[in-house]
Structure formats: structure tokens, C-alpha cells
């Protein structure tokens, strides 16, 4: 597997060299073998034809004088050519005249064939007419070993050994020499790895060669320089923006502090002295004046509540979020106990599911639950059998909590306005409020990564759902 899918340039280079070497050596060896075998074939045939010619010449007189003994002796001289396995002479009528074969098993053709050389199994067979003064005296027959396959096998053996030796040499040489190519590449790769690991754009690759890899190193360095510049620019910009934001934040905090402190003081004076007037001059003040003063006082208090709610809303965005395990059931119980304490005369059925738990900021979540439960409490004030339920939907993730009431409800057509600051769906006379509570609650849910939505019907009640984690 490693060889088929190399992991490194080094392995690829060695592989390339090996494949190229293999191909070159194979072609060279095959060419040499082909050439040699052809040479062997032609020279062996030429040799055998010469031999046949020789036998023909020396045997022509014996045939002419019908001297079988001399012919036999001539043939037997061929034992000095061990590769000639059989030889025979046929007379002019094609009858076997003399024969020679060291191997007695061999059979001879009964009739001579036409002149020529042909392969017969592993042997080469030659027929040659004996001609004297245009008169055919007979035919020479020679059968000799044809060792082409043995030779081929021998060559292949040598080729295999040469191939293995060459591949080994090529392998070790390329192992040594690939460094020339890979070292500059690996140097660049090392720098690239270090840059990504340490996020250090000031590193530079060394240019180790003047070839394409050298150009790569140069290009890589140019890119690094550009990235270093951009990064520095970006960091600078982030620093500037952060400083701006911090400044704005401080301004905002100072502003909120002023609002909280300075806007309230005159309100307190208006309220306090209105009260003082009523207390100190009960006889002098006509009833209408007293009524007006009480209107002044309730407006002042309303203004005070508005300031308070606005500050809470802005605080939700400013304070840092501290997530911890929170017992929502417990908080809901405390909140409802507070409400009952404030208005003990109200008869209201409250059911709180046990074991409601969530991760969140305890202060912000308490504020959110106070708002939601407070709303339910407020909007059921004119309901006959008021009921408030706090629970969680069992199915689905993230966990969805809800606060349900059977109070005034609202028209879902206005649902989009529900969570906007100062947006109210009921008149202040019916249900007093500043219209900031749900905006604050929504901001609290958003800061937790969750969301809040509602479902309602006018006169039937409302249910507010919320999550404290992102969906999905």
C-alpha cells in the first residue's frame, strides 16, 4: 500500500526513479535479447546450411558411385559436431542411402523434402539437394539442436539478476540523491507548519536552490510578509476599535450612572414636596388641588419606574454573564411568594413544575422570571379564576420553559411589537406598566444565546416560551 500511495515527496521521487529505471532496463534487455536471438537464429541456420553443403560436396562421389560405405563414413564424421543429432543421405530416387544418429531412437523421414530449413519441434531440419553438373544425385538431411528457448531462458535469468541489481542500485542512489530536491521543499514545508502552529508570520523560508522550488520559497516568503503586514494591520484596527468601544462603554456607563442618580433626585423632590403640601396644608388646599397633587405624585412615581426599568434594560447588556446551574423552580417559588406578600388579598392559583433546572446567570434569570411571572400576575388581575403555570416542555432540545396565564392575553397580530422597548399592547389605565419588561426579558434570553416567543388569545390568556441555549 505504501508503495502504491506514497505519503511523501521523498517516497514519490524514489518511486519515480525506480519506475523509470525499471522501464529503461527492461527495454534495453529486451532489445539485446531480441538482437542476440536473431543473430543466433540466422548464424545457426547459415552454419547448418554450410554443413549440409559440405556433406553434399563430400558425399557427391559416393552417391555417384553408389558407394554406401564411403557415404556412411562421411556422415559419421559429423559426430564431431555434437549439436547435429541426425544426418542422412537419400539417393536420386529419394531412397534412404546412408544415415547417422548417435541416438538410436531417432527416426528418419522416408522421403526427402524440398530444399530448405525448417523447425521441427526443438530441432532445426535441413534438406539440401546434391547437384553435380546439373544432375541431381541425391539429398542431404541434417537434424540439429535448435537451442533458442534455452538461450532465451538463460538470458531472462541474467536479465532478472541485472534488473534486481540495477533496481537496488537505483533505489539507494535515489534515496541519497532525492535530498537535492526534497531538502528545499521540506524546509519550506517545515516553515509552513511552524507558521500555522505558532501563528508566527515573521518566519521566513530559506531559499536553498535556484530552481522552481527556490521560486516557491520566494513566493511563500512574499505571502508570509503580506500576511504579517495584514495581520499587524488587523490587530492594530482591533486595538483601535476595542479602545473606541471601551471608551463608548465608559461613556455609556457614566451616562447611566448620571441618569440613575441625577434624574431621580428632582423626581424625589417633586414627589416629596407634593406630599409635604398635602400633609402640611390639609385645610388650605381645596380638594381639586389635592387631587392634582396626587396626579403629580403618581406621574412622578411612574417616571421613577421608567428610569428604573430603563436602567435595568441597559444593565442587562452591560453586566458580564456568569453561567451556573440554576434552580428555576426555586426562583419561581420565591418570586410568586414575593408577589403574594405584596398583594395578599389576591386569590390566584399558581402551579410551578418541580425540578426545572437550567444553566444561566442567576441575577439575570431571576430578573427575567420576575418580569414574566409579574406580567402573568398583573394581566390576570381582572380574570375570574386566575391561574398561572410555570413549567417546561418535556420534548425537544434545547429545553423550553414557559409561563402560562389565563389573563387578558393579546391579539397575535401585534406579537411582533411585544418585545420592543416602550411597546405596550394594553393601556396604562387597564394594566399599568412601562413597556420595558419584555424587552429586558428578551435581551436576557438573547444574551444566553436563547430566545423568547409567545402565544396568546385576547381574553383567554398568554403563554411565554423561552430557551437559554441556541437552537439545534
Amino acid at each position: 500500500m505504501e508503495l502504491l500511495s506514497p505519503r511523501s515527496v521523498r517516497q514519490k521521487l524514489v518511486g519515480l526513479v525506480l519506475v523509470a529505471t525499471l522501464a529503461a532496463i527492461l527495454v534495453a534487455i529486451l532489445a539485446m535479447i531480441a538482437y542476440d536471438l536473431r543473430l543466433y537464429h540466422t548464424s545457426w541456420i547459415a552454419d547448418l546450411e554450410t554443413q549440409a553443403e559440405l556433406v553434399a560436396r563430400t558425399s557427391a562421389p559416393a552417391l555417384a558411385f553408389d558407394d554406401a560405405r564411403v557415404a556412411q563414413e562421411n556422415l559419421e564424421l559429423l559426430r564431431y559436431r555434437p549439436k547435429v543429432r541426425a544426418a542422412a543421405l537419400y539417393d536420386a530416387r529419394g531412397k534412404l542411402f546412408a544415415r547417422f544418429a548417435p541416438d538410436p531412437e531417432l527416426t528418419f523421414p522416408s522421403m526427402p523434402e524440398a530444399d530448405g530449413v525448417r523447425l521441427d519441434g526443438d530441432d532445426l531440419v535441413v534438406f539440401k539437394r546434391i547437384v553435380n553438373d546439373r544432375e541431381t544425385l541425391g539429398t542431404v538431411y541434417l537434424r540439429a539442436d535448435y537451442e533458442l528457448y534455452d538461450r532465451l531462458l538463460g538470458y531472462l535469468g541474467i536479465a532478472a539478476v541485472v534488473l534486481v541489481a540495477a533496481m537496488l542500485v537505483a533505489y539507494f542512489l535515489s534515496r541519497v540523491l532525492q535530498a537535492v530536491v526534497t531538502r528545499p521543499l521540506l524546509a519550506i514545508a517545515d516553515v509552513a507548519r511552524e507558521v500555522t502552529e505558532k501563528r508566527n508570520f515573521s518566519l521566513r523560508a530559506q531559499k536553498l536552490s535556484r530552481d522552481e522550488i527556490g521560486m516557491l520559497a520566494e513566493g511563500f516568503n512574499t505571502m508570509l510578509a503580506e500576511m504579517e503586514r495584514l495581520n499587524a494591520e488587523l490587530e492594530q484596527r482591533v486595538r483601535e476599535r476595542t479602545a473606541q468601544l471601551e471608551y463608548t462603554n465608559r461613556e455609556l456607563e457614566a451616562f447611566c450612572y448620571s441618569v440613575s442618580h441625577d434624574l431621580r433626585a428632582p423626581l424625589r423632590a417633586i414627589d416629596g414636596f407634593s406630599q409635604a403640601l398635602v400633609e402640611d396644608f390639609p385645610k388650605e388646599l381645596p380638594e381639586a388641588a389635592q387631587r392634582f397633587l396626587s396626579r403629580i405624585r403618581s406621574s412622578t412615581q411612574r417616571m421613577g419606574q421608567l428610569i428604573e426599568d430603563l436602567l435595568n434594560l441597559s444593565q442587562v447588556s452591560r453586566v458580564s454573564l456568569e453561567r451556573q446551574e440554576i434552580d428555576i423552580t426555586e426562583i419561581a417559588k420565591q418570586v410568586t411568594a414575593d408577589l403574594r406578600g405584596r398583594e395578599p388579598e389576591r386569590r390566584i392559583e399558581i402551579s410551578i413544575a418541580e425540578g426545572l433546572r437550567a444553566e444561566g446567570d442567576p441575577r439575570l434569570l431571576r430578573a427575567a422570571i420576575e418580569n414574566l411571572v409579574g406580567n402573568a400576575w398583573k394581566f390576570t388581575s381582572k380574570t375570574e379564576r386566575p391561574r398561572v403555570e410555570i413549567g417546561a416542555r418535556r420534548e425537544g432540545a434545547p429545553p423550553t420553559f414557559f409561563v402560562r396565564d389565563n389573563g387578558a392575553g393579546f391579539d397575535m397580530a401585534y406579537a411582533a411589537k411585544l418585545f420592543g422597548a416602550f411597546q405596550r399592547l394594553h393601556s396604562n389605565t387597564d394594566y399599568p406598566g412601562t413597556g420595558i419588561g419584555l424587552a429586558t426579558v428578551q435581551r436576557i434570553m438573547h444574551r444566553h444565546g436563547g430566545r423568547i416567543w409567545a402565544d396568546a388569545q385576547p381574553g383567554k390568556g398568554a403563554v411565554f416560551f423561552f430557551t437559554l441555549e441556541p437552537d439545534g
Binding site: S260, A265, R268, A269, G272
Partner: protein
């Protein structure tokens, strides 16, 4: 009882009058010394500046301290008091309009005994002031004794 007095550190004339009114309504008849800013409060407590030569054996039974004051702010005054042995144990009630939690935490850290947010509504304001006044003047036995 006559030597027991309250030091009220308040820069807002309206708040001052309302506080006095609330204390009166709570039937607190003790002398009330009023100073207008943080540095005057320090001068009074340490017998310096305009209050040089004041009898320093007479110390307030309780200090009602506004936080947002001209010159030195309330927390600075509180810090200076707590660093001085003679004043380390005088009860200090921080009275403020601020609803910043940070202010409350700092006040307690610097050694305030109570922290009261001045409500807009006078009734609530009066009852907070009077409860505090009664508590610190009558119920709480001063540590100096």
C-alpha cells in the same frame, strides 16, 4: 441623649430638607449637623478647615452619607473614616440614588453599615430614613460606649 447627634452629608438641598422632614416625622429629635460636600464632611470629622478647633470628643452617633458629592465623594469620606481609629466604628449609612450594584458592593467593602437607595416615592423614602434613624440612634448600642 442630647450629645447624640446625626451627621448628614448631603449636597442636594431638596434631599436635605426631605431627609430632615423624614427624620422629624420619625420623631427623632436629636441634633442634626449638615455638611454640603465630602471635603466639608472630612473637615468636620477631623476638626480641620472651617471646623478647626471643634471639640473632637463629640462624634456623630451615625453618619448619613450621600455617595455622589462634590469634591470628595462619599466613598472617599468613608475610606478616610475607616482608616482613623476614632471614627472606625461610627455607624455609616450610605444614602444614594444610585442603583448600581458596584456602588453597593464598594460601600460595604469600605465598611458601610447600611446601604439605602433613595426611592423616588417620598413615603418609601421617609420610612427608609426613619427606620434607619431609629435603628442606629436607639436600638444599636454605639460601640464607643
Amino acid at each position: 441623649m442630647a450629645e447624640k447627634f446625626i451627621l448628614l452629608v448631603e449636597d442636594d438641598a431638596d434631599d436635605e430638607e426631605l431627609t430632615l422632614r423624614a427624620l422629624r416625622q420619625a420623631k427623632i429629635a436629636n441634633e442634626i449637623v449638615i455638611v454640603r460636600d465630602g471635603s466639608e464632611a472630612v473637615d468636620f470629622l477631623f476638626g480641620r478647615g472651617g471646623h478647626a478647633g471643634r471639640d473632637l470628643s463629640r462624634m456623630p452617633a451615625v453618619v448619613l452619607l450621600d455617595l455622589k458629592l462634590p469634591k470628595l465623594d462619599g466613598l472617599d469620606v468613608l475610606k478616610l473614616m475607616r482608616e482613623d481609629r476614632r471614627m472606625a466604628l461610627i455607624p455609616v449609612v450610605v444614602l444614594t440614588s444610585s442603583s448600581e450594584e458596584e456602588d453597593m458592593l464598594k460601600s460595604y467593602r469600605f465598611g458601610a453599615n447600611s446601604y439605602v437607595r433613595k426611592p423616588v416615592e417620598f413615603g418609601a423614602f421617609a420610612s427608609a430614613v426613619s427606620q434607619l434613624g431609629i435603628y442606629w440612634m436607639l436600638v444599636n448600642e454605639s460601640a464607643r460606649r
